[in-house]
């Protein structure tokens, strides 16, 4: 098939492209320029849009003997990922920009263009597997649980899955991918893994948000509404956070308190005991299915709420209002805006964006 290999300049997408070529596909490499103001040189392990990264990708394409292009998706990325990230935080929600990028850029804008230009699939270095199931292609976890990236791919729908290709999904470990890169002579074999948010180059998410969202002093209250402290901007707080609260009024029981909720409209941060972080139920309207929608309106599943969280056994209920999930054990550190990905075994069934949470501990407990 004709394959468009998205090449970030990192080792995973390089090996993925190499395997696509080796499998006999007709491969073209493309590097997505996601920032117009990208730096020249890579610093540490952040970012993916420097000129050096584009050059790394180009040199891998040269090695593989495939055509290579750099395409400018910076406008789409700014609108659909960066601005979305800012407005979600403004709304007191905690988005996952990698997931949004997969949903809106790599497997939407890029995939659409690829199909227009005559390609059959977009190939990436994601760690996830595609399984030919009874009702078509299914998205599953990667063989290497430590590297599994199926969570950030949970937003893909059946049509998108039908046009994706993940050559690394069945690789037992990342170490094998690095060794393979070295063996193939790929220059980025030892390049550090990227982490953090690519468009925040110094990794200072709070500082970056303060600049974009604006920081305004507000109150920190307990679950009964009593003021227990002040903050310099609600956006700087995440549900589950303990450090940096600087509370003036100690808790009655003397125990540490945690951020339970961020209320952007009133610029208020709500704190409470650790137990109150436990969430008994999550629900959301905006959802998608990685294949056919489930036939049953309620079913047993597992739910995962962060890229590196453990999946928790749960029960899902579907209705016209969206998806509601009740975990068998309470979930910790759930914030509205996060995506909950629903699994059955290793299979990704779909996902929804969490709008509402129900605490496992009543206010007066």
């Amino acid at each position: 098939m004709r394959v468009l290999a998205a090449m970030s300049g990192g080792v995973d997408s390089a090996v993925a492209a190499a395997r696509a070529v080796e499998a006999g596909h007709d491969v073209v490499g493309v590097h997505l320029a996601l920032s117009r103001a990208g730096g020249t040189l890579r610093t540490g392990s952040r970012g993916c849009c420097t000129i050096e990264d584009a050059l790394d990708a180009r040199r891998t394409a040269d090695l593989l003997g495939i055509p290579f292009y750099v395409w400018d998706f910076s406008e789409r990325f700014r609108d659909d990922v960066i601005d979305d990230f800012i407005s979600e935080y403004k709304a007191g929600r905690t988005p996952n920009p990698c997931l949004r990028c997969n949903e809106k850029i790599k497997f939407a804008a890029l995939l659409e263009r690829a199909i227009e230009l005559g390609f059959d699939a977009v190939c990436t270095g994601h760690y996830a597997t595609l399984v030919d199931g009874a009702d078509g292609l299914e998205l599953h976890r990667a063989s290497d649980a430590a590297k599994d990236q199926s969570y950030v791919l949970g937003v893909l729908n059946a049509e998108q899955i039908a046009h994706t290709y993940f050559p690394l999904g069945s690789t037992p470990s990342k170490a094998i991918v690095r060794a393979e890169a070295a063996e193939r002579g790929i220059s980025v074999a030892q390049k550090p893994d990227s982490h953090d948010i690519c468009f925040i180059p110094d990794g200072d998410t709070r500082g970056w948000l303060a600049e974009k969202v604006g920081a305004e002093q507000g109150e920190i209250v307990d679950r009964n509404g009593a003021v227990v402290g002040e903050h310099d901007g609600a956006h700087a707080f995440t549900v589950g956070q303990r450090r940096g609260l600087r509370l003036g009024v100690p808790a009655a029981d003397g125990k540490p308190r945690f951020v339970l909720e961020v209320r952007p409209v009133t610029n208020t941060v709500v704190v409470g005991p650790k137990e109150a972080l436990a969430i008994a139920e999550i629900s959301g309207e905006r959802h998608s299915w990685a294949g056919a929608a489930p036939a049953a309106s309620d079913f047993a599943c597992e739910v995962q709420i962060r890229a590196h969280a453990d999946p928790v056994p749960a029960h899902a209920y579907l209705s016209d209002d969206g998806v509601r999930v009740v975990p068998e054990e309470p979930l910790n550190g759930v914030a509205p805006g996060q995506s909950a990905v629903i699994y059955v075994g290793t299979r990704v069934l779909g996902q929804f964006t969490i709008d509402r949470t129900v605490s496992a501990v009543p206010v007066d407990a």
């Binding site: 590097h31 117009r36 180009r58 395409w71 227009e116 230009l117």
Partner: protein, 384 residues
């Protein structure tokens, strides 16, 4: 099969230039050395300089050899700015100049230079009245002889006369024009007073079939220009550094060859180009020719493909073996929306949907046929 329609980016090396380079490379010695070997090198260098001067209509002493167009432009603009009159604080800058000019002026602006922007018309031609009005009291003015993207030819003569009348030193960027339109520094300069009017003119070797890394800045005898590079008294002290004898010989050979065939080539290339433009508009009626339809470089066809993604067009044409360009500057391989197209009053979307085909010495009917065979399908698939 490959079809090369990007001569404005870089034109294939001319056999005469290659031979001149190879022959000159056999000569041992630094042209600044006093021994016999050095003198041999110097002789070849000065013969080449004389030949270049003859082709550009200037005195040999006025030819400063550079590493290309960018260095020539930087040397001229920075050098003139550094030697400006104490009370002059502005640079006159038309909106559709090449990035080598735009970015140099931007850097000077950061250092304190005021910038007087001059609009261009819908065909990207410099507005002569606005240019003239911007001149009085300016430290430096600069202008393209022909626009590198659209191929529109400016009235260099009138621009030079305006600068002369205003008593402002003018640099002309002739990188895109060289080899395609008659160029005489002496005639363009006319009887301008010392150190003002046309004082500098830039060309680049690889646009006319000399090697990349060659170029020249013509600097009038009377110009006041501080050097960019220090470290030697070569070339009037304006460009320190060991002189590139084979490069000079190759540039001289390429200039001579291109000048010899210029008029015939203009006729041949204009006909090919018109067939390309007409043919494209037959199969893609939405396509619109940008730039002046008549007063344009003979090999330039710059077209707007409304609604198309320029990157996709380039990709599809490349898959068909066709090398074309958006004509605008690249950052890490990404084409920016063309500031030239936007200066012509078009939207950013239009600026991303323009393609430049440029023909040259090696172009044939087969190149035009290849584009005409591929463009309709490419346009259909590259449109949103």
């Amino acid at each position: 099969m490959r079809f090369y329609l990007d001569h404005a980016a870089s034109s294939p090396l001319r056999p005469e230039a290659r031979e001149a380079w190879v022959a000159a490379s056999e000569v041992v010695g630094n042209a600044s050395s006093t021994h016999g070997a050095g003198q041999d090198a110097r002789r070849l260098l000065e013969e080449s300089r004389e030949q270049i001067a003859q082709m550009l209509g200037c005195d040999p002493i006025e030819v400063v050899l550079t590493s290309g167009g960018t260095e020539a432009i930087n040397t001229a603009l920075r050098g003139l700015w550094m030697s400006r009159d104490a009370d002059a604080d502005a640079i006159v800058l038309p909106d559709a100049e090449h990035h080598a000019t735009m970015d140099t002026v931007a850097a000077l602006h950061t250092g304190g230079a005021a910038v007087r922007a001059v609009p261009v018309d819908a065909a990207s031609r410099i507005d002569l009245a606005a240019f003239t009005a911007a001149l009085p009291g300016a430290a430096v003015a600069t202008a393209l002889v022909a626009n590198n993207e659209t191929g529109t030819i400016n009235d260099a003569d009138a621009l030079a006369r305006a600068a002369s009348a205003a008593g402002v030193p003018l640099h002309l960027d002739a990188v895109a024009a060289c080899g395609h339109v008659p160029l005489s520094f002496r005639m363009l300069r006319g009887d301008a007073p010392a150190a003002t009017g046309l004082v500098a003119l830039s060309i680049a070797g690889h646009k006319i079939g000399a090697p990349v890394g060659t170029g020249a800045l013509v600097v009038a005898r009377s110009a006041r220009m501080a050097p960019l590079l220090h470290g030697g008294a070569q070339q009037r002290g304006l460009r320190a550094g060991t002189q590139d004898v084979p490069g000079a010989a190759a540039l001289a050979a390429a200039l001579t060859a291109s000048e010899a065939e210029r008029e015939d080539e203009a006729v041949r290339l204009s006909a090919l180009r018109d067939r390309l433009i007409d043919g494209i508009r037959q199969v893609v009626p939405q396509a619109e020719l940008l730039g002046d339809p008549v007063r344009r470089l003979p090999g330039n066809a710059h077209l707007l493909f409304p609604g198309a993604v320029g990157e996709s067009l380039l990709f599809l044409l490349d898959m068909a073996g066709i090398a074309a360009s958006t004509g605008s500057a690249c950052q890490a391989g990404v084409a920016e929306p063309s500031h030239v197209v936007m200066a012509m009053g078009r939207s950013e979307q239009d600026a991303r949907s323009a393609l430049r085909f440029t023909l040259g010495r090696t172009s044939t009917d087969a190149d035009v046929d290849a584009v005409l065979a591929a463009i309709a399908d490419a346009y259909a698939r590259a449109s949103r």
